[in-house]
Every structure is written in structure tokens, then in C-alpha cells.
């Protein structure tokens, strides 16, 4: 299977997630709040006690998560090693579980929705779904290489 297009799709989604998390991390570092493109929940979510895990801004975890995902996809694109897709599949699944928890917090605990956070979650979910499709295609005998 040709890896160029799938890698572009997967890499694009991971890069979008990285950019969003970098923006959220930068606002945290600058001591400001993210500007919500829609609605006004970003300030509320960023100021809530749930915006930090173990004293570290959640956005920093997002930067690390997306960086690793992007590195996995880039390496797969170069080598074609199917195990990297498997690792991305597992990582994406972990990310989805965490994102579901974060969305729950926004909806039912904080009472505000941060569109940046939702957009980040969407990149994780869409990236994982795309990865499943790519993995199934790549998994056919004789197509990987």
C-alpha cells in the first residue's frame, strides 16, 4: 500500500493537535487565557482546578501526546513498519479515554466548554479512526511494504 496519502492524513491530524496544544500551552506559559473562537468557556476551563494534573498544565501533556503520535506516523511513513501503526492505535485509544474524561469534566463538573479542547479531542478521535482504516488496509497480505 502506498503510504504517502495516509501518512499525510494521519500526520496532518496529529500536527493539528500539536498546534492546538502548543497554543494552549503557550497561553498557560504566558499567564493568559486562550481566546475561544466560539462561546466563552475557554477562560473558565483554563482557570479551573482541572486544567492541571499533578501540578502540570494539561496542555503540556497534550503537546507531549501529539508529538509522540506525530513521530510514530513520520517513522511509519519512512519505514512502513506496521508495529508503529499498532503503537499509534494503542496510543490513540488511551487518548480517547482521557478525552472522554475531560469532556465529562467540562460538561458536568466545570459547566463550560472549551472549544480548543474539544477541537484537540476531535483530532485525536479522527486520527484514531483514520489510523484504524489505514491499519486494516496495510494489514492485507502483500500490501505492506
Amino acid at each position: 500500500m502506498a503510504r504517502g496519502r495516509p501518512a499525510l492524513l494521519l500526520g496532518g491530524l496529529a500536527a493539528a493537535g500539536l498546534i492546538i496544544s502548543l497554543y494552549l500551552g503557550a497561553t498557560e506559559l504566558a499567564g493568559t487565557t486562550p481566546v475561544c473562537l466560539v462561546g466563552g468557556g475557554c477562560e473558565t476551563v483554563a482557570a479551573s482546578q482541572y486544567s492541571h494534573w499533578f501540578g502540570i498544565p494539561v496542555a503540556y501533556f497534550g503537546v507531549a501526546f501529539s508529538s509522540v503520535l506525530l513521530a510514530l506516523i513520520a517513522t511509519w511513513w519512512r519505514t512502513g513498519d506496521g508495529r508503529l501503526l499498532l503503537a499509534g492505535y494503542a496510543q490513540g485509544l488511551v487518548g480517547i479515554v482521557i478525552e472522554l474524561y475531560l469532556v465529562y469534566l467540562e460538561l458536568f463538573v466545570i459547566g463550560a466548554i472549551c472549544t480548543w479542547c474539544v477541537a484537540y479531542g476531535a483530532t485525536i478521535l479522527l486520527g484514531w479512526l483514520a489510523l484504524v482504516v489505514v491499519q486494516r488496509r496495510a494489514g492485507r497480505p502483500g500490501e505492506e511494504g
Partner: protein
């Protein structure tokens, strides 16, 4: 052009896509071994239950890992660790000085000088003022009947979030009712030196402070229910009053209603300023910039 298969009449005709049968004994032996290995592998795969397939195991492991991260991040396993380490205030405000009519005030209502302290419980400079300057102010001026201190909320560090730590801690202190000052002292004594909005003043932490100062828990819990909406509204209203009055930093001290510049004024500045007011006989304003403090409903 003839091939091996076409020249040998004993062999069956070659089907398209079918491999050429092994010609030599060695090749036949190898092919037999290979077939045996494949058959064995297929048997093992057929015997393995579906849940033991690598994909299912990886999926399950990823889901479990995600749940573990969520449980750790939610603090379900470790709320007691942060709650059980409260530091007692070194120089708490004397309980006898608390004004029963306004639990957020210390000293007599008839004191000639009113010192209003506009503050945020997350603010480090407010912490410095509350733990190092205010005790001297109380000893020298409030206990002697010369001045009265009134705490004012200027909750801004959580950027206006109703469920942020500035608003929730201010609301909790109000919900403590007549235990406001002990609550105030505990909050500043246990402020997180690492920074603001780090989850230090969590609901569990505030409840532990409430227990430490001995509040009426049913009343406190009722006051804090639903995000302490009433008290948060009062905190927001007072903060808005402070903004209207021109406050743009914490702490801001007001002497008889007049805002002082310089933030956490030391006693070397504050003392002479109060003395000057006492000497001039300037009366304390009947109505200050803020309404009286709310108490627990």
C-alpha cells in the same frame, strides 16, 4: 516451446496460479515440512480464543491504561494526602476581636479608623500581608480599639471563573460564617508557594479547612452546594465594586475608605498613616466601598 509439465504425461495438467509440484525428493521433503508447519500454525490459531488475539489484547491494554491515567488524574486515590497536611496558622487572629455582626471584620465598629483589605486568597502578596503584617496591625491597632479591619474580596486570579480557586476559596470563607477569620488564616497559611490555579484550593481541601476551624458542617455543606452560587455571586459583586473603586492589584489597603497605593504596605508605612488619621480625628466612613459580609444561609 515445451515445458516440464507438458513433456510429462503422468502429471496432471497445470492450473493457472498453482505452484509447480516439487521435482526432487529433497524438495518434496521440504514442502511436506512446510505444509506441516503451516497446518500446525493454523491449528494453534484456530484453537486460540478470539479474545487472545493481539489486537484485542492491545485494545484492552490501551483502555486499561487510559482508565488508570484518568483515575490518577482525578485524584480519586489521593485526596487524603493533600488534605491531611494542613499547617496551623502561626499567628491567628484573636477570636475575641471578631465582630459578631460582621464576621469578616475584626475590632469594634466604633473604631476611628477602618482598614479595608482587598484581597484574593490565591495572591502571594496578600499572603505576605496576612501572615506577617496583619498580625502586627491587629496587635497594635485593632486590639487597642484604634482600628478595625474589614476583609474585602477582590477575586481575580482565577480569571473570573465561578468554580476557580479564588472564587471558591472566597465563597468557602464566607460559608464558614462566624469562623471566617480562622478560615482566612488557614487559607493564607496553606497557600501554595508553587503558584496559582494549581488545584490547591480544591473542594476537598476547603472542606478540610472547614473541619479544621470547626465550622457547622451541615450549614457549610449547604452553603457550598451547587458551586456555592449565592456566595460566588456575592464575591463577584464585591470584586466588581472594587474594580469600580479603582482597585487593580491585591492586596489594596483602604484607610477610612481612601485607597492606598503600594500593595502590601509594611507597618512602617501603615502605622504612621493610621496614626495620622487618628491625630486628625478623621472619622471612619459610615458606608465603605463594600456591603457587609454575607454569612452562611
Amino acid at each position: 516451446m515445451s515445458t516440464n509439465s507438458s513433456s510429462s504425461g503422468a502429471r496432471p495438467p497445470k492450473k493457472p496460479g498453482v505452484q509447480r509440484p516439487p521435482a526432487t525428493r529433497q524438495e518434496r521433503r521440504d514442502a511436506a515440512r512446510r505444509d506441516q508447519r503451516l497446518a500446525s500454525a493454523r491449528t494453534v490459531a484456530a484453537k486460540r480464543p478470539a479474545w487472545q488475539s493481539p489486537m484485542v489484547l492491545i485494545t484492552a491494554a490501551a483502555l486499561v491504561l487510559g482508565l488508570v491515567v484518568v483515575v490518577l488524574a482525578s485524584g480519586v486515590l489521593s485526596p487524603k494526602a493533600t488534605v491531611g497536611t494542613l499547617v496551623k496558622p502561626l499567628r491567628p487572629a484573636p477570636v475575641a476581636l471578631i465582630d459578631p455582626a460582621n464576621p469578616r471584620a475584626l475590632g469594634k465598629a466604633t473604631a476611628p479608623v477602618t482598614v479595608e483589605v482587598w484581597s484574593d486568597f490565591q495572591c502571594p502578596a496578600c499572603d505576605t500581608f496576612a501572615t506577617t503584617i496583619e498580625p502586627d496591625l491587629i496587635d497594635q491597632y485593632v486590639a487597642t480599639g484604634k482600628a478595625r479591619i474589614v476583609y474585602r474580596d477582590f477575586a481575580f486570579i482565577d480569571k473570573g471563573a465561578a468554580n476557580g480557586e479564588s472564587h471558591q476559596s472566597a465563597a468557602a470563607a464566607r460559608c464558614a460564617g462566624d469562623k471566617f477569620w480562622p478560615f482566612h488564616d488557614y487559607l493564607f497559611e496553606n497557600q501554595n508557594p508553587k503558584g496559582e490555579n494549581l488545584g490547591t484550593f480544591s473542594a476537598a481541601f476547603l472542606t478540610s479547612v472547614a473541619d479544621a476551624v470547626g465550622v457547622d458542617r451541615p450549614a457549610y455543606d449547604a452553603c457550598m452546594a451547587n458551586g456555592a452560587a449565592d456566595m460566588v455571586a456575592a464575591v463577584k459583586a464585591e470584586t466588581a465594586q472594587g474594580t469600580s473603586a479603582g482597585i487593580n492589584q491585591t492586596p489594596t489597603i483602604a484607610l477610612n475608605g481612601k485607597l492606598q497605593t503600594g500593595g502590601a504596605l509594611p507597618m512602617t508605612t501603615l502605622g504612621p498613616a493610621i496614626d495620622a488619621l487618628l491625630a486628625s480625628g478623621s472619622p471612619a466612613p459610615a458606608a465603605s466601598a463594600s456591603p457587609p459580609a454575607s454569612t452562611a444561609p
